[in-house]
Structures are given as structure tokens and as C-alpha cells.
């Protein structure tokens, strides 16, 4: 260890590194939720799916020795959670928000119950790509050790942005999301589309969980998530259902969350509770600045129960 302090430069570096390290779960959960909400349904249960995914990924990685099998298993369980949500919600007079809260509690409880034997064992971690070889500063090298899932998340955001506009599936999803009646008139079964969209959303959210338990912070216990699944659902609204917006908002959240520890580490120690509130404060400010007195929630899918 030959590292020495890098002083004030630690703050922008920490924000940059934090944006990448902390944002990945937000990216996957919010992209998943975007798919679900674009189909006209809200799945608030993604926090439960995230934690269950974290548990599944860790457990499978411990048992098989392969973190990637863990990620695949998490995706499978995540889509099962999505299917359950989507299937229950297709019955008349069922409220998707209430089901989501129930699914969240179910996922958390089941994850804690089944995850008990996996708190102690150490799982193999997901690989990262060292992009900092050009730098001689160890801190920069550490910050540029970027996990593969982050790049997958970025690529997925771009792909979804393109696919929503330019593919048949994207169009079907948007029609169902904007008007159930129009979709029926076109011969599309809205329930099936929403079921699949919720399943896809669940499996993406579970990847976010796998990142938490298999990479950063890289451990399974019952406190692994500090509400990332819930925050990401809010991020979708903040990002106006735009996948690229979700990606940027997730980065912003990750970076703002790294501000508190980074400032304390350079000796700005007064009022750290206030710095810890930075991500939430930032959200409030952006929402106020971008709000409009005349329009409500531009970009919101018309059939979303949020806007009904």
C-alpha cells in the first residue's frame, strides 16, 4: 500500500466513483420500472424483488461458485415475482399499488427466511474492468475499476430508448400504456402485455439486487438494501419515463450519495447529516425547477393509475 492522500481532489473523484459504484442498482431497477410503467402499470414491489434477487444471486454464487449463474438465477426469480404481480393485477378491481406493497413485503420476508444460511459464507464477486491502467494514482485506478453490469446498464438504457420508439414491441407497449381501449381495438391483449412488461421489469430489478450482493458492497445480509428499490421507482417519475433520463438520474443519485463520506474524509465534518440528505434535496430542487403550472407529468403513460 503506497497510497497517500489526494486532498481536495478526493471529493470530485469520490463523486465520480460513487456515481458509478452506487448507481448501478438504481439504473437496473429504474429501467425495469420504466418498462412496466410504460405498459400502464406500477410495480411498487421492486424493493422486494431487488432484495430477493440479491439473496438469490448470492446463494447461487455461493453454491455454484459462479457469480454469473447467480445473476441469471436472480433474473429468473425476479421475473417470477413480476409474473405474480402481473397475474394478480389482471383481475378486475385489483389495485396495482396495493399489490406492489404486498409483493414488496412478501419478497423481503421470503428473502430473509431463505437467505439465513448465506449470511456467513463468502461468494465469488462479479468481475470488474480495470480502466485506470493509464494513471499512476492508485485512487484513480480504484475509481476506474468499473463493473461489467454498469456498462450493461448503460447499453440497456440506450437500447430501450431506441426500442420504445423504433420497434414493434416498443409501440405495442406504448399503446397499451397510453390507452387500454385503443390497444383492445387493435387486437392487443393488454393484460398479456402488462404481464410480460412486469416480468421484464422484475428480472431487471433483480439484476440490481445481484449487483448489491455480488459486487458493491458485495455481501448478503438483511440490511443490504437501504431502499434502493423504492428510490428507483421514484426516479422513473423524476426521469419522466425516459430510459436515458433514468440512467442520468441514477448517476446523479449515486454521485450525490458519495458527497457526504467524501466531504468528511477531507475534514469538512460539520453537518454531515445535511450532506447525507443531498440526493433527496437535489431531487426536490430539480422537481420544483422542472415543474410546470400548466401541464401535469409530461411523458406519463395515459393508462397509469398514477395519472387516472
Amino acid at each position: 500500500m503506497e497510497e497517500t492522500g489526494i486532498g481536495i481532489w478526493g471529493v470530485p473523484l469520490a463523486i465520480f466513483a460513487g456515481a458509478i459504484r452506487v448507481s448501478t442498482p438504481f439504473i437496473f431497477v429504474s429501467l425495469g420500472e420504466t418498462i412496466t410503467e410504460r405498459s400502464g402499470r406500477i410495480n411498487l414491489g421492486l424493493e422486494g424483488t431487488l432484495v430477493f434477487g440479491a439473496m438469490t444471486a448470492y446463494a447461487v454464487a455461493v453454491l455454484t461458485g459462479s457469480p454469473w449463474l447467480g445473476v441469471l438465477a436472480a433474473m429468473a426469480t425476479g421475473s417470477v415475482f413480476g409474473v405474480i404481480h402481473g397475474w394478480i393485477c389482471k383481475f378486475p378491481k385489483v389495485n396495482d399499488i396495493a399489490i406492489g406493497i404486498a409483493m414488496m413485503q412478501f419478497g423481503l420476508g421470503l428473502a430473509f427466511f431463505l437467505g439465513k444460511p448465506f449470511i456467513q459464507p463468502a461468494a465469488p464477486k462479479l468481475p470488474s474492468i480495470p480502466l485506470g491502467g493509464w494513471s499512476t494514482v492508485p485512487q484513480v485506478q480504484a475509481a476506474l475499476n468499473i463493473n461489467v453490469l454498469f456498462f450493461l446498464g448503460a447499453a440497456l438504457a440506450l437500447f430501450l430508448f431506441w426500442a420504445f420508439r423504433n420497434t414493434r414491441i416498443g409501440l405495442i407497449l406504448r399503446v397499451v400504456g397510453d390507452s387500454t381501449d385503443a390497444a383492445r381495438a387493435m387486437g392487443i391483449n393488454p393484460d398479456t402485455v402488462r404481464l410480460l412488461a412486469t416480468a421484464a421489469g422484475g428480472s431487471l430489478a433483480a439484476i440490481g439486487g445481484a449487483y448489491l450482493s455480488l459486487y458493491y458492497p458485495g455481501s448478503w445480509n438483511e440490511g443490504i438494501s437501504s431502499g434502493q428499490g423504492l428510490m428507483a421507482v421514484a426516479l422513473v417519475i423524476f426521469a419522466r419515463w425516459n430510459p436515458i433520463g433514468c440512467f442520468l438520474a441514477a448517476l446523479l443519485f449515486g454521485g450525490a450519495g458519495a458527497l457526504g463520506p467524501a466531504l468528511q474524509s477531507i475534514g469538512v465534518t460539520q453537518g454531515y447529516y445535511l450532506f447525507y440528505a443531498a440526493p433527496y434535496l437535489l431531487t426536490l430542487i430539480i422537481l420544483i425547477v422542472t415543474s410546470s403550472p400548466t401541464r401535469s407529468l409530461t411523458g406519463a403513460p395515459g393508462a397509469l393509475s398514477l395519472t387516472k
Binding site: E3, G5, G10, A14, I119, N221, G257, A262
Partner: protein
């Protein structure tokens, strides 16, 4: 009201069952009377029992008393510091017949344990922490705690020899006296090796926040700290993150050497098994359970992890010499002259506090050399 009714019904059922036994099986009752030491003990944890941290330390203590004759152990984990813990206590008392309860988490005390203590005056409650006060709290309650800052001082000695950057780091949850004692003791231990060493502290604000603890550890290492310790409920994330970045680690609460391998210097661990054994012995012999139980390394309340392979011979010598002094009861971690990190004198030059000094339990400062603030 319905709760009261159901309680009465339960008591009625218990009483009638006992009555039936007296009539039908006098032999059984007789055997019960001879086994006077039968005791059901309840343990309540705020997190999982195998968290490599606070809860694991208590659960290991509970496992020690499990083997004692006549003792039945009931445990429940992941009990939130809400009215839930009252339900857990009631069920342990009424359904399992527990007469001695150890609600181990800080937030269980007020109002939850106090409410249960008032409702069940025949049950004994002992809480881990420093909250019990003579005259203010009922006699069937009490608190027990250990001077683990002695262990953090010894951690500091190992850290002082291991650091090359002369900067060590501490990930702390909240600025309460027990945490501040640990931070200060860690730095004072390191400064006993080299007075130029400073300790950077980062408060996460909560007892268990995995991502923030990882961020805090990374931030400390980015600023050049090369030995890390912590005071959070589960040190697993801090230990793994620090060792993964190549920093040395001093453990806390339980033995984390399996997580950091050769980066693990030593650690300050609880030895609750001894404490619980004493409580059980007192309860079984009909003696009085202490209300305010304290102890440190020499009393067997606290122990050190075995020294890791990275600890030099020089460090080992100083570590063992200091440990011997502590065990002999001749060592003060906090002695004057001592300034806080704002320049105020907090301990006068001629003063030295023994570990059981009551003044230490209200510590509200960080000593000179600690970079950080309590608010």
C-alpha cells in the same frame, strides 16, 4: 381489553394444566421440584445472529450458556426496536416461560423493556448498554456493558505499527459516548507508537447502512488511510471493502479475520459468554443479579482476536506488554494531559481515569489528532 382477556384465559389454561398434572402425575411434579435450577432464558437480537458483528457476539454468548445444566434457551432475531420487541418479550414470558430476558439492542430499553418490566415484576430483564439508573428504573431491570475501548486502544497499537502513511481511519455509526470512546482510544493507542499519527473518522449516521459504509471506507482509503477499523453493527462490509483495497483492518465486535485474511491485524471482541454465565449462575443459585454490571479485558468481558501475520515482532511486544498492564488493572487509556480536537483541555495533566470512571460514560469529544466532528 381483548388482550387482557386472552392473557387471563392463557393463565387459566396454564393453571388448569398444572392442576391436572398435580392430580394425574405426582411423580412428575416431584421431579420438577428437585430440578430447582431449571431456568428459561430469552435472548432478543436486532439483526441476524451471524452478522460478523454485534448480534453474532451476543449469540455466541448465548451459545455458551445453552450448555449449562437446567438452562433452556429461547432466541429471536431481527426484532425491530418497536412495539414488536414487546410482543416478543410477552411471548417469551407467557408461552416459553422465560424468567430472565436479555433484550440486547440499544433501542429496546426505553420504553419497550421498561413497559414489560412493569407488567411482569417477577421476570428479570438485563439490557446491554449503559442506560440503567439507580432509583429511576425498576429493580427487576438492569444493564451490562464492557469497556471495549480498551480493545480499541490495543487495536490502535497494532495500527500504529502497521501504518505507513501515518493516517488511520475509523468508520463510525453515531457520535454517542461509547463510539467516541472507541475512536479516541484507537487514536491514543496508535499515538502511543507514533505521536504524529492522525485518525480520520467518518460517521454514517446509522448502525447498519451497507452502501454508505462501503463508500465511507473507500473515501478514507482515497485520503491515504491505510489501517481501518469501525464501530457499526456489522463490520463485514467495512472489513471486506478495506481489505479489498489493500488496507489493513482492525476488527470490532467479533472475529472478522476470515474476511480480511492476512490484512487482519487484530480485533476488539466481546466475550459475552462469561457475562451471561455469571448472570445464569446467580439466577440459578437464587442470588441477586447485578443491576449495573461492567467489566473490561481483565474481567473477561472483552477479548482480543489473535494477532494476524502482518503484525511485526516489535508491535507484538508492545501489544503484549500493554495487554499485560491492562490485565493487571494498572493501565489508564484516558489520562491527562489530553486535549480535544478543538484545543480545549479535557483531562488535566495530573488526572488519569480508570476504565470504570463514570466520567468516561458521558464522553462527548474527539481527542486531538482525530479529524472529524461530533455533529
Amino acid at each position: 381489553m381483548t388482550k387482557l382477556l386472552s392473557m387471563n384465559r392463557r393463565h387459566f389454561l396454564q393453571a388448569s394444566a398444572a392442576g391436572a398434572l398435580t392430580g394425574l402425575a405426582p411423580g412428575l411434579i416431584g421431579s420438577k421440584a428437585t430440578a430447582q435450577t431449571a431456568l428459561t432464558v430469552g435472548f432478543i437480537y436486532v439483526g441476524p445472529k451471524d452478522d460478523y458483528g454485534y448480534n453474532q457476539a451476543h449469540a455466541e454468548g448465548a451459545a455458551v450458556i445453552k450448555g449449562m445444566p437446567g438452562v433452556t434457551l429461547v432466541e429471536e432475531e431481527n426484532v425491530p426496536e418497536t412495539v414488536d420487541v414487546q410482543k416478543t418479550m410477552e411471548s417469551m414470558i407467557n408461552l416459553d416461560g422465560a424468567t430472565l430476558l436479555f433484550p440486547t439492542s440499544f433501542g429496546y430499553f426505553d420504553p419497550h423493556m421498561l413497559a414489560m418490566a412493569a407488567k411482569y415484576p417477577d421476570v428479570q430483564f438485563r439490557h446491554c448498554g449503559g442506560l440503567w439508573q439507580e432509583g429511576k428504573h425498576p429493580a427487576n431491570t438492569g444493564s451490562y456493558f464492557g469497556y471495549i475501548f480498551q480493545g480499541q486502544y490495543l487495536n490502535g497499537i497494532a495500527a500504529g505499527y502497521a501504518t505507513k502513511s501515518k493516517k488511520i481511519g475509523f468508520v463510525a455509526a453515531k457520535p454517542i459516548p461509547q463510539v467516541l470512546q472507541n475512536i479516541n482510544a484507537f487514536l491514543l493507542g496508535a499515538r502511543s507508537v507514533d505521536p504524529a499519527i492522525t485518525c480520520q473518522v467518518i460517521f454514517t449516521g446509522e448502525w447498519s447502512l451497507a452502501v454508505k459504509e462501503a463508500e465511507a471506507t473507500n473515501a478514507l482509503i482515497d485520503q491515504g488511510a491505510d489501517v481501518i477499523t469501525c464501530h457499526v453493527d456489522s463490520p463485514k462490509v467495512v472489513v471486506e471493502t478495506a481489505a479489498g483495497r489493500g488496507a489493513f483492518v482492525c476488527g470490532y465486535h467479533a472475529d472478522q479475520s476470515a474476511l480480511a485474511k492476512d490484512k487482519y491485524l487484530t480485533g476488539a471482541e466481546w466475550a459475552w459468554g462469561n457475562v451471561y454465565t455469571n448472570f445464569i449462575k446467580a439466577a440459578q443459585s437464587g442470588g441477586k443479579l447485578g443491576n449495573f454490571v461492567r467489566g473490561g479485558l481483565k474481567d473477561g468481558f472483552v477479548k482480543m482476536s489473535p494477532l494476524g501475520p502482518a503484525v511485526s515482532d516489535e508491535a507484538r511486544k508492545k501489544f503484549e506488554a500493554t495487554l499485560a498492564e491492562v490485565m493487571a488493572g494498572k493501565f489508564s487509556v484516558f489520562k491527562g494531559p489530553l486535549k480535544d480536537n478543538r484545543g480545549n483541555v479535557v483531562i488535566a495533566a495530573d488526572k488519569a481515569y480508570a476504565e470504570d470512571a463514570i466520567d468516561l460514560e458521558s464522553m462527548a469529544y474527539l481527542v486531538e489528532g482525530v479529524v472529524g466532528s461530533t455533529s
